[in-house]
Symmetry: C2
Subunit: 239 residues, 2 copies
């Protein structure tokens, strides 16, 4: 257990914010204690179970959500139903596109998630009077763009084996916002979702996972719980 991080005016902060990761690496770090206190009056903490839809493609955006815990799956579908997962969001990412009238992706809780919801108008007013906040959001957007482009390489140029290894490595390095790479974790996505993320079928994902297991690169319990004894051996399989 880590003690709650202490910094100036910690005791003046709203209780919910005191231990919140978003204040450190996320967007709330751009706010003064006064702004945080004012904002906290308008936010509410919500929980969604795995599988719940948070935001439909082309649906109006009513607010923004700071991811506190869990994983969110962003996806797009073609008319005939083919689906592609275009991104995952972990704590302390911000869900919802700034100033957009409607979403350009569908968002679904991949695992159980906790969000800190901010009403659309409150967030946008705060951004207007606080350029540093827009700057923080800009940095997150640039990071998302980098991640999307990295994933384009995975989708366009890697083999099925490399794709699955890349996915496992992505999860291992993002699932815990406080630590970096982690050697044991639960997969937040089903095989079907992993397939939709990697541009593969369920069967191919399953076969490649079995192969990594047979080769001793990973261990698996109950389909979802993964251990990586030597993360470097996983990394070299990413291509």
């Amino acid at each position: 257990m880590q003690p709650v991080r202490n910094d100036i005016h910690n005791s003046d902060l709203p209780i919910l914010c005191q231990s919140c990761e978003s204040r450190h690496q996320g967007i709330c770090g751009a706010l003064s204690p006064e702004q945080l206190t004012q904002l906290a009056r308008q936010t509410r903490r919500v929980h969604h179970a795995a599988g719940e839809e948070l935001l439909g493609d082309a649906m109006p955006i009513t607010g923004y959500g700071n991811v506190l815990r869990g994983v969110i799956k962003l996806s797009k579908v073609l008319e005939d139903g083919r689906q592609q997962v275009v991104g995952l969001q972990f704590a302390p990412d911000l869900l919802g596109r700034l100033f957009a009238k409607e979403s350009r992706v569908a968002a679904e809780a991949a695992s159980d998630v906790d969000l800190c919801m901010v009403p659309k108008a409150a967030m946008e007013n705060l951004v207007r009077e606080n350029p540093a906040l827009e700057h923080r959001i800009m940095l997150q957007t640039l990071r998302e763009l980098d991640e999307a482009r990295d994933w384009m390489v995975t989708l366009g140029r890697k083999t099925a084996a490399e794709k699955v290894a890349s996915f496992l490595y992505l999860i291992a390095s993002h699932i815990d916002p406080a630590q970096g790479e982690v050697t044991t974790f639960d997969l937040p996505l089903s095989r079907a979702d992993i397939g939709d993320f990697l541009g593969l079928t369920i069967e191919t994902v399953s076969r490649q996972v079995s192969k990594l297991k047979a080769d001793g690169v990973i261990e698996i319990e109950n389909y979802r719980h993964v251990s990586v004894p030597d993360i470097a051996r996983l990394r070299v399989r990413c291509g």
Copy 2:
């Protein structure tokens, strides 16, 4: 020929800026005539021939480039040489990632290009004293993120035939910044580059282009010059 668009204080503007597309749809629209005049003292217009490298992956960024004419290819490579084109930039996009020390992609002139180069420090100072400018850049970044995610669907879930149709449609709808969709154009990319953009081989690209031609969806002269008699017929082939 279109007349130069006229607006307030047009005559006060630097000559180079007067007919520049970037003032209308691009980032320079966020600047006052005074700021534009001041900025214009530090910019220089440069030309690059097709194939020239503008920026290497992990190379230090020395400035920003407003695309005035032509197409820029952004790409990433794996250690073993496999390449993926992760984006194209057209006028009036801004080349170069704001505040980053080094680039995360390689940039190459796909066709002959003209750029309006702004020194790194000049642009960053301007951004710091002008939040509206950062806002404009934010909007472009969000657009790039949308495009990257759209392309992830193409890479992950479309067939070779749909990929090639999607590429041709992308070019038809972006090559001319002033108009929207265009029915005749020169391909700014070689078959090899198209393959690297679509996650296909040269041969597969060539076969699918030939098929579209045989089906009467497109006409081709000299490998590079394309006509699309009915753009709706192309669009339905995008999947």
